[in-house]
Subunit: 216 residues, 2 copies
């Protein structure tokens, strides 16, 4: 697939690298055409990796990964262009973390709304699927980094889009029975509101290489 | 121990029954001296179980369980009396769930504050420990209801109080290595903000007999 990865931070680079490794063609998008992190990433990967503006990442893309900071996500997707997002799966791994008031970060949207819903409302023709936001990016693309069984959530309004995301998650190494479909995009609230607990666990346990398993 | 259980709902009755079974003397407190649910509970249990007002539950109590609705918790503890709470462990299992706007409930405090913190601020001499609020009451008092390993969190400012709570949790069946100390009472935010995800999991999986295991 031709995949646009939005965001040049560690999350975007890690997911982009994994996708190229799986044979996809990835264009990493940022605000500027010459983002140094994106250029360095693409040069390091070689074939299958390119970079440019958000609009460049959107040109001809079959699917998108939103790996921007939550505060920048709507603008980034707007720069891709609503027309290019229409009918396409937007895998949203971002979190609405607000670092402006110091640590620990709070959420700038939660409880009665979520970033996943905001993105879906801003781009009603996109097929937004919230997933993978409940763990660090090393675990996202290689669940074996955490031993044993643990889970990933998906939230979205479109069943076909969620099926596509399940396939991608499977290619990352996620067993199908560890992918929990929470429901429509409003269920983004739960996984996003889990972040404060994740941050507390990171602090208490001294590692971010962790995840949760739902036991029943 | 002499334990005051505040609240006559399913959580209070289930915890009260478990505590009596473990040999504690439990007084179940409510707003009125003759709450029918409390009277029926005490009659069904017999020796070790009594009931009365919140103040009655506070008289001579060594430790408290706050099992009231989150919306009623501060008032209930106020009716116990700040003097009776001073220096005593208050095990807070409540959640700030707001059902007034329909299902699913939202939280009426979260993100930059928590109910655990509100209670601690309202009763600064009490030793508040937030715990057990991340699961239903059947699992709280008998973790074997969920197969295999899964976790319970504790948050509180007083190390000795948390040790007392660890002992109580152990008597309920929680293995010491499944009790995760998140830190001070401000870390109540994480477990309280997990509730929306718990509710989504309940909906998606069709059972509330579930819990999470932190894997690392």
């Amino acid at each position: 697939m031709k995949i646009g990865v939005l965001g040049t931070g560690i999350v975007g680079r890690t997911i982009g690298t994994r996708l190229v490794g799986l044979g996809h063609q990835v264009t990493m998008g940022s605000r500027t055409p010459d983002n140094p992190a994106a250029a360095e990433w693409a040069a390091g990967i070689g074939a299958g990796a390119s970079y440019g503006t958000f609009a460049d990442a959107g040109a001809g893309a079959d699917l998108f990964f939103n790996c921007t900071l939550g505060t920048a996500s709507i603008d980034a997707l707007g720069a891709v262009g609503a027309d290019r997002l229409g009918g396409k799966v937007v895998v949203d791994v971002s979190n609405p973390l607000d670092f402006s008031k110091g640590m620990p970060p709070s959420l700038w949207v939660c409880n009665t709304d979520s970033l996943g819903e905001q993105i879906q409302r801003a781009f009603p023709d996109a097929l937004v699927v919230k997933t993978l936001n409940t763990m660090n990016c090393e675990v996202m693309v290689d669940p074996s980094r955490v031993p044993g069984d643990h889970d990933v959530f998906v939230s979205g309004n479109d069943g076909g889009a969620k099926d596509q995301v399940r396939q991608l998650l499977g290619s990352f190494g996620w067993n199908a029975d560890r992918v929990i479909d929470l429901g429509d995009i409003t269920t983004s609230r739960g996984p996003e509101m889990y972040l404060p607990l994740w941050l507390e666990l990171y602090g208490a346990l001294g590692t971010g290489t962790l995840n949760i398993k739902v036991v029943r």
